[in-house]
Symmetry: C2
Subunit: 349 residues, 2 copies
DNA sequence: TTGTACGCGTTATCAA
DNA sequence: TTGATAACGCGTACAA
């Protein structure tokens, strides 16, 4: 009943060649005469041969599989970049075994162990739970994405420039004071650069500014409450100034926008808002939100290039491990929409 | 330089047992004496053994890998359900090779071929491009999710009930007329049920209703234009009636809400809106949108159960293929928020 | 309870 | 240009 798969042995028997020759047909076709190529090609069709990569892998060690560990796919940023990464299959031919971490270190270690058991050729880590030092110890090509990356290669957005861009647009849109609201992030994660960029731009341009480092809660409802409170405070403090607010992400920017909209029925010219991420909510908001977008497609491609560089090195007879991890930085894109735009430019409504 | 992996042979040599015994340590530990178990356990640690699933698979055929083909991860619905599916790893121990289709049939066929080359045990198909008849022909356990499923097992939401729930809530919230806006979908895709459910509820309850089957465009900007036009028409037609509008998804519902909000600065009591999907935008809107949510977690689990049932059957000595494909239907959840709620209930603002 | 011998389907090595 | 043979690492009859 079990239909056995057709193997090289069957093709060999059918054509009268050896298994070796059949193998060569796939891996170095030009070493056979054209006629013999045709013979084998025909046999493959007639017997309906289907390739078996596992056997191939066992023999030569190349799985063409890359492992990915992502915190979740619920947040748009992650699903977006994963989408781009797995779409590189067309270009680079690597397949992806995907694990969704749950923030638990031991669980994610288990994932890695499992991935190693399948002889994956490399790992892409978007999760933040395992320190890069440990990642490096697995002795496998790794690329960290937008996370702490001291000991491994990485790709990240130029968050500092993002901060500059945001501050700059707010100023151009006529703000007297600009405020950045963010969580009190650790200095070694890329997001910290946003705060730095924001500050540096304001300081070197003598712009009145303020950075508010505060937790806005861990779910949407908490976010709403906290942002409402925050806005109430800001209204009192800066009632006489055109106020630019750079929120840490689009979700928060949108909540702020909604708070204001519910109060005023519109966004008063007194307020300018910037988000970060260019996630769908920034377009879908009552009023399209100006934001900083990561070049997710570029990042995905960089990730694969940095990974492939490492994986290819390992395939050489005398691999030379990298002396220092490579860190790629991708420029973010300023996206002007309706909540902040240069005062003398026309803008859609 | 190449550090060879430790194999059963090494463990065997070290402990003085045979490879077979080492193998048994993993697959049937109780067949060894406790002391010998300990001996091997220790050797494994000392030599730092790492399991090699590929070799195992080549020997016994069980990859514990399931292939997934999804249209994209950009849309929240897909990333959400994929997230839940891959999270079942904890429960069922299957790993997932993920491909993102691009709507091209040949490309997706190539994906399937690749998946088969890795001896995957089953496939989960969310993409709509390949007809179920062809999927069935691959002679591999398959589960289709929320798509045409005539010839393969499937899991889908009870769209009909979703339509009923939406219409019902709109009526309860005081509408004189209820309108359903949807694309002119084919009768064999689950989404068609929504239209049916909506109609049936209205007819059997003598509710004035209308179904508008129209294309709203293929991108956000087109959507906005079309929905704006649509709303203008509806305003003229039903100016004297409390109008309930059930949009085909939350994104469209949100756009409609925004159109209304920009015009009135609020949602006039004259209008009630329902979305579908419970996607993030429905919560993040200026006004939380009432919607119909799919029980994505339940669906993910059902998917795996239906798949595992088929995969387990194949592992038996005398597998009995299913006579008829199994179709699981999951009840949707009515989510009352602020754009439609029973008139005599209190509601948050 | 443990071991021997072979198979899984391919690639690599060496020889012809 | 082609072939024979030995890996790759593990599971599984079958034997002891």
């Amino acid at each position: 009943m079990e239909k056995k798969n057709v193997t090289f042995a069957d093709i060999a028997k059918y054509t009268g060649f050896s298994k070796t020759t059949v193998s060569r047909y796939f891996n170095d076709p030009d070493s056979l005469t054209v006629e013999n190529q045709d013979k084998i090609a025909e046999a493959l069709k007639i017997l309906d041969y289907k390739e078996n990569k596992l056997a191939k892998v066992l023999a030569n060690g190349k799985t063409e599989i890359v492992g990915i560990i992502v915190p979740n796919l619920y947040m748009h940023y992650y699903s977006d970049i994963i989408n781009h990464i797995i779409s590189t299959y067309e270009k680079y031919n690597y397949k992806f075994l995907l694990f969704s971490g749950n923030g638990n270190v031991d669980t994610e270690r288990k994932y890695i162990k499992e991935l190693l058991a399948y002889n994956i050729e490399g790992m892409i880590i978007l999760s933040h739970t395992i320190p890069s030092e440990e990642l490096a110890s697995y002795d496998l090509p790794v690329v960290a994405v937008e996370r702490e990356d001291k000991h491994v290669c990485s790709v990240k957005t130029d968050n500092c420039m993002g901060g500059v861009q945001a501050a700059s647009l707010l100023v151009k849109s006529g703000c007297d004071i600009v405020i950045h609201v963010n969580a009190d992030v650790s200095t070694d994660v890329p997001a910290y650069g946003r705060i730095q960029g924001f500050k540096e731009f304001c300081e070197s341009n003598n712009v009145e500014h303020r950075v508010i480092l505060t937790e806005l809660g861990n779910n949407f409802d908490e976010n709403c409450r906290e942002i409402e409170k925050l806005f109430a405070e800001l209204e009192e403090l800066y009632s006489d100034k055109v106020t630019g607010i750079f929120m840490s992400n689009d979700t928060h920017a949108n909540i702020l926008l909604n708070v204001i909209f519910r109060k005023y029925g519109k966004l008063p010219p007194k307020y300018k808002i910037m988000g970060f991420d260019d996630s769908p909510v920034s377009r879908e908001a009552v009023m399209p939100i100006s934001t900083i977008g990561q070049q997710v497609d570029v990042m995905a491609d960089e990730v694969m290039q940095v990974l492939i560089m490492q994986m290819d090195e390992r395939k050489k007879r005398r691999p030379q491990p990298l002396k220092e991890p490579v860190h790629k930085v991708v420029t973010p894109i300023l996206i002007q929409r309706d909540t902040a735009y240069p005062i003398n430019s026309s803008q859609s409504m």
